[in-house]
Symmetry: C3
Subunit: 319 residues, 3 copies
Amino acid sequence: MNRITYTVAKKPRQFWGCISGAGGPQARLTRPPSLQERCVAALARVERTDFLSPLCIGEVVHASAEITYTSKHSVEVQVNVTSENILTGVTKLTNKATLWYVPLSLEDVDRVLEVPPVVYSRQEQEQEGRKRYEAQKLERMETKWRNGDIVQPVLNPEPNTVSYSQSSLIHLVGPSDCTLHGFVHGGVTMKLMDDVAGIVATRHCKTNVVTASVDAINFHDKIKKGFIITISGRMTFTSNKSMEIEVLVDANPVLTNTPKRYRAASAFFTYVSLSQEGRSLPVPQLVPETEDEKKRFEEGKGRYLQMKAKRQGKAEPQP
Amino acid sequence: MNRITYTVAKKPRQFWGCISGAGGPQARLTRPPSLQERCVAALARVERTDFLSPLCIGEVVHASAEITYTSKHSVEVQVNVTSENILTGVTKLTNKATLWYVPLSLEDVDRVLEVPPVVYSRQEQEQEGRKRYEAQKLERMETKWRNGDIVQPVLNPEPNTVSYSQSSLIHLVGPSDCTLHGFVHGGVTMKLMDDVAGIVATRHCKTNVVTASVDAINFHDKIKKGFIITISGRMTFTSNKSMEIEVLVDANPVLTNTPKRYRAASAFFTYVSLSQEGRSLPVPQLVPETEDEKKRFEEGKGRYLQMKAKRQGKAEPQP
Amino acid sequence: MNRITYTVAKKPRQFWGCISGAGGPQARLTRPPSLQERCVAALARVERTDFLSPLCIGEVVHASAEITYTSKHSVEVQVNVTSENILTGVTKLTNKATLWYVPLSLEDVDRVLEVPPVVYSRQEQEQEGRKRYEAQKLERMETKWRNGDIVQPVLNPEPNTVSYSQSSLIHLVGPSDCTLHGFVHGGVTMKLMDDVAGIVATRHCKTNVVTASVDAINFHDKIKKGFIITISGRMTFTSNKSMEIEVLVDANPVLTNTPKRYRAASAFFTYVSLSQEGRSLPVPQLVPETEDEKKRFEEGKGRYLQMKAKRQGKAEPQP
């Protein structure tokens, strides 16, 4: 769960006159891609984010951001968040995040505008960026197919089962949840997702839990003021010391004439359980019951092993 | 005073596709009564509500709601709020509340729309509902007559008098106090009313005080964005261990061309005084001075004795 | 930094049907100068404000306000803020503030309306008011000339230099920061200014710091919803036991077709450093490096000595 306190950007990098005010992973970007047409930047995706160290009350947060790649219709923004204890002067990297924005026309928010190309200082930057762009595009499409599913309540579930800890939250999108143009802030959705994931994790292991990382969050569709959103979380996998929780966000445009519930966002959160002294504790093992739960458990295990291999690969680089 | 912390609906009952997001007694309901015309549901009345157990920080709140009766122009909604300590798994009923909503046309908010009739599972449900509907209608009209009165400041009042503890709060209704349609949230008004009642009770007995119950709250008229509201509280009655405080809400449409102050809502709050250990303390006796104060004291005594009899009647049901 | 908690006006003086809801120094005034045209009152200036005693959590705040002078196009409002500990009944004067408002037409916010003249109870009140009006008008113009300057980051600054503690905060003006008419609340800007000043002071002396006073704050120009504001603070002067911090607010209308950054507000904050027991501590001496820093240090010293002389003049009135 988030512990954001106080936002200060000491040395904000201004790139191209573009501004990206950032508060933890809740970065916002609003920029006109050209002088001809006003636009709003819609958050489309947040890449996998690791929470390296917690933010504490009273600390000053520094967030800096820069554009690292542009495709025809999207902008990649890299955000770095550091925390500073202003009494001791100690500074720590809190997290790094990569966000993808899509510019929408303010006259017609269903129309995506073209992004003026960024100028790279090195040739390879463009190639590396294009690789990242293609990879996330593929992943986005995969998630979209996975999205039929809904979390259903179960009566009298057994401890350690998926049903036992699954939780849902209902939220009416009010004016203060929204940007200037009446769409819900990406950061509001992300906070609610983290809230639900935290409840699921606490219910499962009855201890103090913290977010260790968030898998890529895909925003499949816009959510508008007045919509009802249902944020559901269910545990998918446990390793010895971590829990993976899938969070689904469904939106219901209740006030429109033809309300039709749709999947607006989804992500996997990884939580760890901490002792009073802040050391990580073993986690009760999840007991998948249905075929679907067993399938999701195996998929979660796959993601876990892949991340573990990646981390070890980084720690001991191959020749 | 409210201690609401965290809102989660685990198993929200969806009735007719109507949604009632609820946060403590601040339930909201927005539903289209027919597909032909969009509407907003205005909170008209909250029935007497007992606060059975406090909500503590970190607990998860479950609020569920269902429609229990419909008249031609109003909807009765029953809300149940339970709190769950997710570390221990202990669940407690926090309160039950009955709310009446009236659907207003979004094209013309002064026009009340017709409510499509609810389908009852048992015949008696409709009859019981109609009784509740008639009873509250009568009570609403009575309160309206009582509403001329204004709380006036008194210089150098004596301790334990009504003047000594009476308090007023002035609030400009801002955008974040309002629903999507620019009317103040019922929950915002109720919180301010409870705030004032809490100040009156604290001034009277100089101890830690908590809300024990709230009498029916009638919302006589809508309050819009930009209006100034004055929330006044005065003690009306004390028993050995409880205080009754009348709270009046007056609205002033300052920005309109013909501002005319009107009574927007009123209710009686019952507070108790608690020791450090949470046990209820005796309360200093109120000293009514004027004829009006003495009359209100007797009326308060009547309500107190009636509620006491009702509670005892429930505890020891007659043959 | 502000410690505002709870706002209650027990005996609000209503003057002319004008209402000024006040929350600490964040007073707001909205009044129609005539029945013919609706207007919004824009905060133009806050006179020097001393923080006489802190507000503590749980205390009740009483704010009262009255109009003390009117020029053709502006209104002077005097606000008194007292805090009351409702358990002990002890009341303290927290601060007094003088605010200048300018009425703008709601049909065209760039048009300043005429203010209907106030009726004075004594003849001298008008003359004294006119003196205050002329004095602040002169000072406003002087500040406007001083306003070219921008705070630039410096790499690896030495402790106790201006560069070492200087800080900037970037904020996107969202809907909840604004009044009903889409302009940022004066109180929101003032809070952000105090936040930055507090960070600068903490970085400089690594202790618990509190605001002792705020020099006149001039609001040079309106800030609208959707603008980006940059709030920068730099230390200008230190005496043995106090620090003066200059705070500059720059606004950038990013979403307009011709965004042009402008100075929206500026002020000098005086902070003191406190020990755990709340006693004032000596402050590390500021080391000005550049010519500009040395010039600002001397100007700050001038303001400090002038205020000191004024306070001593008040303490020992001359014959």
